[in-house]
Structures are given as structure tokens and as C-alpha cells.
Amino acid sequence: MAYSDKVIDHYQNPRNVGSLDKNDKNVGTGVVGAPECGDVMKLQIQVDDDGKITDAKFKTYGCGSAIASSSLATEWLKGAMVDDALEIKNTQIVEELSLPPVKIHCSVLAEDAIRAAIQDYKAKSGTATKTEAGA
């Protein structure tokens, strides 16, 4: 299978790989996918008091396109406002990375991961109670 240059670049030089403290109330964590399906993404955001995303990290188990989709998502998330981040659509990821049809599910998973991370952050900061992150 031929990969686009952008997928290869993200795969070889992934941005923002790592983990944030999932117990921090300013951190939202989303874990989506399943090992038996061949993809699991963990995406985390750190949000300041103004609702701005100051940091984003990911870890992904999956094919090159899945790694690239989550790497790209963290780039877009950093510096964005939480509510604006909810507007990120999988189709934008498909377009940016030139993903072929068989890899569209990777972008869908990245969108799901963004939403799950934001939802987790909102649940934690809104109620100020600890919610077990992700899965």
C-alpha cells in the first residue's frame, strides 16, 4: 500500500507522543478503539482556566494512518479553544493526510478520540469529581 508523504512524515516523526497525568482535573483523556480491531488511540488534552488547550498528547496502537491521524489531531488541538476543538471533523483529517477509502476509519477514530477527551475533561472540571478516564 502506498502512503502519502504526510502520513509517512507523521509516522516517522510523530508529534506530541506521550502521556499527561490523567488524574489532573485539567486533563481530559479519551481512549477509543479495540486491540482486536487493530487500532487503539489514547488522546489527552490539558486545558487552562480560559478553556484553551495548552497541551495535547497521544499514544496509538494501529497502522501508519492511525498513528498519523492522531499525531495530526494533537497538532490541531494545541492552542485551540475546547469548544472549537469539537468542530474538528474526520473529513478534514482525511483531506489533510490524503487517506485512501480503506483508511477512513482511522480518521473517524481520531475524531472519536478528540470528543472522548473533551467529554472527559468537561465531566471532570464541571463536576469537580474524579471520573475514571477513557475506557
Binding site: V31, G64, H105
Partner: protein, 406 residues
């Protein structure tokens, strides 16, 4: 360390033609171009004599009589001819066959075709190492069974079926034994007499011959096996396979068989030595890795290893300087992992993360070191990026996590 990249380590997919094979083939393109079926001039006689020599060379590799070799276009055709040809010929005796879930598609699909025509097929399951239960095989044979089909060495895991024992069971119960030896030729001893095999498929390009030629061994005596042909025409190959012979290709297959036989001991011990080193070094560097199949009774050139917590396609993408195969065919949205590895009882996650290394004649010790280094580096990098690896390090049992399947 200077290694020419990309390193080819996918000899189970295909092998390059040995230069000696090419050398032997060359005159048969333009000079000795005759049709082996032309009986009334010297062009035909020379072609026929070249084909006869190849027949002897291939027969010698499996201890058969030259007249028992039926040329085909490769193993897929040989498997089809053996299975469908025997099914048709012995239809009045019965319409039951037995095979195994881990066979190659070229055996599975002809049998599925027969099932759709009303034949009954018993599919033997395998254990964790890829072996069938021989007692269960004996019990599965009925008076309606005409043929059983089991490969010699598995193309994905290398596991060897106990073909001599299977051959004995077939003889005792009066059923034909077809053996797909595509991966085994030149890599383990093959002897149709000793192993009790009635039909055997071979393909030249798996043992340094050209692509597009192969053969089916068809036993002539005790019992005399008869087959209904798939191709009707000029009645070549004792009427079992019509069509003008690919003289050039067959000359190549014959030479490849001669080399495989003469260099057998040297080559197989060298391959096993390199394979064992590769496996030992990778397991030492990445102790969580899992070797799939039977670690003892297997093809000498092949190692199938799962690397938990990393996904196979991304690993292959990272190993761009190495040509290997992945057990995960996740090029479609359905993400279908290898049916062979699943039959061994591997979870989908381990099946997704497996790599098949298959070594061959032209691999070197330096290449083994290079591959070990690359694999270690890339698996380590991908694990650092893997949420599953992180969870495992935290002591989380991945099988107990409530995943969001998609």
C-alpha cells in the same frame, strides 16, 4: 556493517531464480525452441529430451518415477487437479474428503467448490502448534472418503504435519493422500514412497526455479491413481493435463530440483542456523515476543513471531528496508487477521502483530544482524507510542478492559 538494502526475507512468497537455473534455461528460449510434442523432427526431439531430463530431476527430489510427474502451471493448478480430479474420478465410491483449516487457499477453495456441488468435507482443527489430532483423523475417515489432503509444511507458521503417519493412516484405510509440498520442497526431505503420498503438489518458484511452472506427482502403482483432467485438449501428460509444455520453464524447474537435492544438507543446515540466530537474537532483545507454531517440527527457513502491543502493518511500514510478510491483512476496513494464526488459537491482537520471516539461499549472517537490529529498534519505538504497552507496564490486564469496538 554494510548490507545492501532492501533485504529480502520473504522466500516463502517467492525465491529468485538461481543463476545456474537461468543459465540452463537460456538456450531454450530461441535456439532449442521446439514443441516437446512434435514427434517428427529434431526440434521436437530435443525439446522432449530436455523435458524428460527435467522430469527425472524433479522425480529424484521426491523419490518418484519420472512417469509419475504431471507438469502444471504451479501448485494452485496441481492442487486443483488433485482434488477436483480425484473427486470426479472416484465420485461413485463416495463424496467425502478430509482436510485441515490451516491449508493454503489453493486447497481450501477447490474443496469449498466441491462442497457447493454436494460433496462433504471434514475440516480438521489444529492445536496451538498447528497439529491435527491423528486419532481424530482416523475416526473421520468413512467408507465414503476418497481423499485426504494435508500440506507438508505450513506457509505461515512452518509447522510440519506428521505426513508419514498421515500416509500410513491413508494406506490402512484405503483413501488417497494428497500432500501440498509447495513450501517443503528443498527444505525438508520428501519421499513419496516412505511417506505414503499418492498425490503431491510442487511449485518451481519456491525453490529457486521460475514462476509459472510446477507439477503434480500422481502415483502409478499401489494404488494406481487416476484423475479426471481439468483441461481437455491434446492429451498431454498421460491425458491428465493438456497443453503445450513450457519447455524453458520446465528445464529451469528440473535444474532447480537438481540443485535443491544436491545441496540439501548444506543448505537446510545453513538456513536453520541463520533462522535460529535471528529468532534467538530477537527474543533476547524483545523478551515479550512470541514464536508462533511448533518450535521443533517446522520448516528450517521460517519464523513467525508476534510482537505484542504493536500492530503488524505499522511495524512493516517501519521496516521499509526489509521485505517480510505480516499476519495482518488490514488493508480493508474489515481488518482481517490471518486465518491460520487464528486457527492456532491466537487472539486477534497477537495475529495482528505477527511478522513472518522466511529465509533463503542468498541471505547472509550480516543480513540477520541488520534485520534483528531494525526490528528491535522499530518495535521499541512503536511500543513507546503504544497505549497498550503503557497499560501493560501499569499492570492493567488488557483482556479485562471494556474496549469500544468499532
Amino acid at each position: 556493517m554494510t548490507v545492501k538494502t532492501p533485504v529480502y526475507m520473504d522466500y516463502s512468497a517467492t525465491t529468485p531464480c538461481d543463476p545456474r537455473v537461468v543459465e540452463k534455461m537460456l538456450p531454450y528460449f530461441s535456439q532449442e525452441f521446439g514443441n516437446a510434442a512434435s514427434r517428427n523432427h529434431v526440434f521436437g526431439w530435443k525439446a522432449e529430451s530436455a523435458v524428460d531430463e527435467a522430469r527425472e530431476q524433479v522425480a529424484a527430489l521426491i523419490n518418484a518415477h519420472p512417469k509419475e510427474i504431471i507438469w502444471t502451471s504451479g501448485s494452485t493448478e496441481a492442487n486443483n487437479l488433485a482434488i477436483k480430479g480425484a473427486a470426479e474420478m472416484y465420485r461413485s465410491k463416495g463424496q467425502h474428503m478430509i482436510s485441515c483449516v490451516t491449508e493454503h487457499k489453493a486447497v481450501l477453495d477447490p474443496l469449498h467448490h466441491l462442497e457447493s456441488e454436494g460433496f462433504e468435507v471434514t475440516w480438521m482443527e489444529v492445536d496451538r502448534q498447528g497439529h491435527i489430532d491423528l486419532e481424530a483423523l482416523g475416526k473421520a475417515i468413512t467408507d465414503k472418503t476418497t481423499l485426504i489432503s494435508f500440506m507438508a509444511g505450513n506457509n505461515e507458521t512452518g509447522t510440519l504435519h506428521a505426513i508419514k503417519e498421515i500416509g500410513r493412516i491413508a494406506k490402512d484405510r484405503g483413501v488417497l493422500f494428497h500432500c501440498d509440498a509447495t513450501q517443503a520442497a528443498g527444505r525438508i526431505p520428501l519421499d513419496v514412497m516412505d511417506q505414503g503420498i499418492d498425490l503431491m503438489s510442487l511449485s518451481a518458484h519456491k525453490f529457486y526455479g521460475p514462476k509459472g511452472v510446477g507439477c503434480l506427482y500422481v502415483r502409478r502403482k499401489s494404488p494406481r491413481v487416476r484423475l479426471v483432467p481439468i483441461l481437455d485438449g491434446g492429451g498431454h501428460e498421460r491425458g491428465m493435463r493438456s497443453g503445450t509444455l513450457n519447455v524453458t520453464g520446465l528445464v529451469g524447474m528440473g535444474e532447480a530440483a537438481r540443485i535443491a537435492r544436491e545441496d540439501f544438507d548444506l543448505e537446510t543446515s545453513k538456513l536453520a542456523g541463520l533462522r535460529d540466530k535471528l529468532e534467538r537474537d530477537i527474543l533476547a532483545a524483545l523478551p515479550d515476543s512470541v514464536v508462533n507454531g511448533d518450535p521443533e517440527n517446522r520448516l528450517p527457513h521460517l519464523s513467525n513471531i508476534s510482537f505484542p502491543y504493536v500492530e503488524g502493518e505499522s511495524l512493516i511500514m517501519g521496516l521499509s528496508d526489509i521485505a517480510v510478510s505480516s499476519g495482518s491483512a488490514c488493508t480493508s476496513a474489515s481488518l482481517e487477521p490471518s486465518y491460520v494464526l487464528r486457527a492456532l488459537g491466537l487472539g486477534d491482537e497477537l495475529a495482528h502483530s505477527s511478522i513472518r520471516f522466511s529465509l533463503g539461499r542468498f541471505n547472509t549472517a550480516e543480513e540477520i544482524e541488520f534485520v534483528t537490529e531494525q526490528v528491535t529498534k522499530e518495535v521499541t519505538r512503536l511500543r513507546e507510542m503504544s497505549p497498550l504497552w503503557e497499560m501493560a507496564q501499569e499492570g492493567i490486564d488488557l483482556s479485562k478492559v471494556n474496549w469500544t469496538t468499532h
